[in-house]
């Protein structure tokens, strides 16, 4: 184990670096440029797994495992939970609020990157010192020895930070009910007092072919009534409109028939030409 992550890099490691590095950069670019937050999260998870492999290759065995368990396992799942809470369909609006902001941001990013990479380019490093000596007693043991001696104060502060974060998250997301929930009787009385919709709401779907809950029933004049659909579906905008279905079916049928006729018409002149040549 000690000769891994040694001072010299093997051809295998170089190969791994170039292949996985490409994957990492593509994943990072997809994270930025994917339109939906879910796709961004998945691309970011891929990049993080690649980084975990790089940690392992660099002799950081503990960090490699922690990266997979904590980052891709816990943090990315947290992200996905929030994406689901906030709504998967909530894509970015593509309208720019500040004119030219995107190009300026890209320019800034490019300049920053050039600055950073030019700075690193000045470094004259040819080989690693290697972790063979430091990892001799085991990577986890070495880290533990450092954490509990040299960095013990920072480690204790970390504990305080984590507790604060947990309490903060609870304070931020917890909501106390400010008023009592209305009982069924109160709701009924309110309905009568308002006098808008005293009887129960109408049932969904009065079409002959569909009576699913997400299909609005028709009023006498043929317009669909939103009242007939469940409130949750209405708020999500998941009402299905099938009033045009029959007409669309007919149109598709006519189109197919027209296509078939056209094809037959296209074949016929060719046949005629063949007969003529005979």
């Amino acid at each position: 184990m000690t000769h891994i992550a040694a001072y010299a890099t093997s051809t295998g490691e170089a190969f791994q670096f170039w292949v996985l590095g490409t994957v990492a950069v593509i994943g990072a670019l997809c994270t930025v440029f994917m339109k939906k937050a879910v796709h961004s999260a998945l691309c970011l998870a891929g990049t993080m797994i690649v980084l975990a492999v790089f940690y392992l290759a660099n002799g950081a065995y503990f960090l490699g495992i922690v990266q997979i368990v904590v980052y891709t396992g816990a943090i990315m799942m947290l992200f996905l939970f929030v994406v689901m809470l906030v709504g998967v369909t909530a894509a970015d609006s593509l309208k720019e609020t500040i004119r030219g902001q995107r190009w300026l941001a890209l320019l800034c990013g490019l300049g920053f990157g050039i600055l950073l990479i030019a700075g690193i380019g000045n470094a004259s490093l040819t080989e690693f010192n290697g972790l063979g000596e430091a990892n001799a007693g085991g990577n986890v043991e070495g880290l533990a020895a450092l954490i509990f001696t040299k960095y013990v104060f920072a480690f204790e502060l970390t504990g305080a930070l984590l507790i604060t974060a947990a309490v903060g998250a609870m304070v931020l997301t917890h909501r106390e009910r400010t008023e009592r929930a209305k009982t069924q009787r109160e709701l009924a009385e309110q309905r009568v007092r308002e006098g808008r919709q005293v009887p129960p709401l109408p049932a969904p779907g009065v079409y002959a072919r569909h009576n699913a809950v997400d299909i609005a029933g028709l009023l006498p004049d043929g317009t669909p009534s939103e009242l007939t659909v469940n409130k949750t579906l209405r708020e999500r905008g998941q009402i299905r409109d099938v009033s045009q279905d029959a007409i669309n079916d007919l149109r598709a049928l006519e189109q197919r028939a027209a296509d078939r006729l056209e094809r037959r018409g296209a074949v016929r002149p060719a046949e005629r030409a063949e007969e003529a040549s005979k």
Partner: protein
């Protein structure tokens, strides 16, 4: 292979993350880009650890991970409470400290 390659990769990932923070306006994606930047820093720290032949770089990377975890918890809680009050996760809509 030159050890600097790892640093180049870290710099590239950090730059992509920073550009993402500037470009995107969905708060969750902005947050993911911040995570990407933190991860790029961790890669550089791990590479430094191997360059110097001691474990201090890995310790710093470990602390970065812990701080990132705490940051994600609080940040996502803020996003959720913002979304509850404004019904949008766009950073443009949050112009006031008051909810």
């Amino acid at each position: 292979m030159n050890p600097v390659n790892y640093l180049y990769l870290a710099a590239l990932l950090f730059t992509i993350g920073a550009t993402g923070v500037l470009i995107r306006r969905n708060a969750i994606v902005v947050f993911m880009c911040v995570e990407l930047m933190l991860n790029a820093c961790n890669l550089a720290l791990v590479a430094f650890s191997r360059l110097h032949g001691n474990l201090d770089g890995q310790i710093i990377a470990f602390f970065t991970m812990v701080v990132a975890a705490a940051e994600v918890v609080v940040g996502l809680a803020i996003i959720v409470s913002l979304f509850r009050t404004r019904h949008s996760a766009s950073v443009d809509d949050a112009g006031l400290m008051k909810l």
